[in-house]
Amino acid sequence: MPRNVAVLRVVLALLLVSLPASAKETVKLAFIGPLTGGNSAIGLGGRNSADLAVKIHNADPKAKYQYDLVVLDDECKPDTGVQVATKAGADRSIIAGVTHYCSVVAVATVDTFHRLGLPTIVWGAVLPDITYGHSYKEIHRVNGTMINQNETAAKLMLKQGFRRWVVIHDTTDYGKGHDKYFTQFVTPGGGKILGDFGVTADQQDFTAELTQAKALNPEVIFFGGLTPIGVRIRAQMDKLGINAQFQGTSGIVNDDFIKALGPLAEGVVAFREGAPAEKLPGGKFFLEKYAEQKYPNPPEAYGPFAYAAAKLLMDTIDKVGPDRKKVISALAQVKNVDSITGPITFDDHGQNTVAAITAYVVQDGKWVVWEDSEYASGKRKLKGR
């Protein structure tokens, strides 16, 4: 009977799949990030980068284990996040995780990872509490917090002589956090926040807020939020004839921001944790390899961190073996380990302390490190300078 044949085929296929692919022992890593919804671009970039790290590692004959990346979507929602975190933590074959871009999810899952004893490295969420809100040994983070970022940002902008800001931020934890810390660092140095506007993450029209901002006559529009809104605000500033400097946060440091704005992006300033990937030898290698794989989406701002986190975990597991407890104690010893985002040192909260902050400016359609730019050398001028 043809039906029996079909059944047989399915059974055979199942058997074949379950055969081991190579002689090396296979170890599973989890990747968790937003793959659907408004933040999916960054999530997919992170996913691809972690995937790249695993592929490169697996191709290395010296590597001790074969790694398998289990990818989970947290939708940027805490309850889904806890659900997939439980899934990763409960699966004993998963040894460690590269987890979360959205701060609100990362904060929600720390208890879960602690309870289930899964060592994780956060690859993108910037809220300080994720590492400093508890003393769990399981949680680490390679990227810096928004505290570091805004300290650098405030210093640099004050040095350029800017004094009058209007802040526009999205009402997510990311935007609100940036609003808080930037305000905190810029005011002691003589900066003034003339106005402060919260906008919702799916808002399209900002003309009402911007018209008000225009009336306040600021030198700089500080924007705390991600690319989609950042693009809209920058474009609508132009429509309303607002001639102020545009300053952003790590959420807009990606090629899409420039692509979506074209010439309007010129001179936009933004800050991001980590050393510039282009300038580190490993970083160049990363970008080349990434291009080779022909992923449909770019790595985005936090891709290098996902890559660095995955690589750090695999190197650690290669050293101490696929044992969660051993991985946790090994991670506590991480000091000055080279990565494509600069050296990594975890403090006693698992926070990477040497997370350097890099300032960027858009010059001729590219994000250029501030110090190398014609803006720093004085050849070009920021708005109003």
């Binding site: 399915v10 296929a13 199942l14 799949v17 793959l35 659907t36 999916s40 997919l44 996913r47 990818v71 989970l72 979507d73 940027c76 929602k77 805490p78 309850d79 806890v82 659900q83 997939v84 439980t86 899934k87 933590g89 409960a90 699966d91 701060s103 609100v104 904060v107 929600a108 208890d111 879960t112 309870r115 289930l116 809220l127 009402t171 997510t172 934890d173 935007g175 609100k176 919260g198 919702t200």
Partner: protein
């Protein structure tokens, strides 16, 4: 109606419970893409065959609802025991049960009184936030859960007047607007944690902490097993309550309001009173589910209570077949599990899920299981 002998009733109930239990076990245990596909196929075939041949309905009728409910509960306990040390499966089960409870609340509004509610997630959220605010203090957690329900009903009472004055799409808009408004309000307002959300303590009843894993009969039992039991008890209670309401003069009056407002009014049935009753009861049920869910997850944030989440609840209602509790339960399980089981296809899962919902709605406009006439009550009916 034929009267069945007790032994036959118990046997039928057990058989049906076993079938349901095995199917759910398959769904839970399936891990790889192929296994998920095979299990889904098996479930579909079993259900289709059971309905075609009439075996499943006949078993259900033979068992009667009481024993059937008991046997499903038994199957649930067995499943919990089987998965006692797998927190993820237990979390999924508990979530599905709580979503079911929330849907039961919407069912009272939507399927009984005919009042649409597209802000289900908002009332779920009200319950959760109430639990977050009160649960941290010294108030006994059972009271906190009751307060979650009461608070959801109280917030819902803001919408009573608008909803009584409008109907159909106009009423739908009011709930949609409220859902959007609620979520934005939570996000902008700092009082309740803002966009960053709030942490919650785990459920604790009479000193028994649900969060802790513990040794039972020499087995390592995950804390989520206890949440499963709590959610199960809540779900059974909600099913019991909703069925009792439906099989009484309350149900008759609600049906009359839903089916023909003019005729109902001409027989003295106050439309306002019954709609208010359904809205309040429904929101209270949703709120209690939200409270327990928040305590189980341990964290809530506005992101969880979006318009899309409300849509998921309504989808469950319509997919199950408006007005049918068995269909509702099946749909709740499917809608909670399918996206989770679709994790292997990563970013494509929401697309596939939406396509599936559209297909079901177009191919089976009445939902998976057709609505049944309300069963009679009183001794003459038995």
């Amino acid at each position: 109606m034929t009267a069945y002998r007790p032994a036959l009733r118990v046997l039928s109930a057990l058989a049906l419970g076993a079938v349901i239990g095995i199917l759910i076990y398959g769904l839970l245990a399936a891990e790889s893409e192929k296994a998920v596909g095979l299990v889904l196929l098996a479930v579909a075939l079993t259900v289709a065959a059971g309905l075609r041949t009439g075996v499943l309905p006949r078993l259900a009728r033979a068992a009667g609802s009481g024993p059937l409910l008991g046997s499903v509960a038994l199957a649930g306990v067995v499943l919990i025991a089987v998965f006692h040390d797998d927190p993820f499966v237990l979390l999924l089960v508990a979530r599905a049960l709580l979503v079911l409870v929330a849907c039961l609340g919407l069912h009272v509004q939507f399927a009984d009184a005919g009042v649409p509610n597209f802000a289900g997630a908002a009332f779920f959220g009200v319950g959760g936030y109430t639990a977050a605010v009160l649960g941290a203090g010294e108030i006994p957690h059972l009271l906190v859960l009751l307060a979650s329900g009461a608070m959801a009903a109280a917030v819902g009472s803001l919408l009573l007047l608008p909803l009584l004055r409008t109907r159909g799409h106009y009423a739908a808009l009011i709930t949609i607007a409220f859902g959007l408004l609620f979520r934005t309000f939570l996000e902008v307002n700092e009082g309740l944690g803002g966009p960053q959300g709030l942490k919650l303590p785990g459920l604790r009843i009479l000193g028994f902490a649900f969060n802790d894993d513990r040794q039972l009969l020499g087995l390592e039992v995950s804390g989520f097993a206890f949440y499963c039991l709590a959610a199960g008890v809540l779900a059974l209670g909600a099913v019991w309550l909703v069925r009792r309401v439906e099989r009484s003069w309350l149900g008759v009056s609600l049906d009359a309001v839903r089916l023909d407002e003019t005729a109902a009014a001409c027989f003295g049935i106050s439309l306002g009173r019954w709609k208010i009753a359904a809205l309040t009861l429904g929101n209270a049920i949703v709120g209690v589910a939200g409270g327990l869910s928040a305590m189980m997850v341990g964290f809530i944030a506005p992101n969880n209570f979006t318009f899309q989440e409300s849509l998921v609840l309504v989808s469950i209602l319509l997919l199950g077949g408006l007005g049918n509790l068995a269909g509702l339960a099946a749909a709740a399980l499917i809608v909670v599990w399918v996206p989770e089981k679709l994790q292997p296809i990563q970013e494509f899962r929401y697309l596939l899920f939406s396509v599936l919902v559209v297909l079901v709605l177009v191919l089976r406009p009445g939902g998976l299981v057709r609505r049944r006439a309300r069963q009679a009550f009183g001794s003459a009916a038995a």
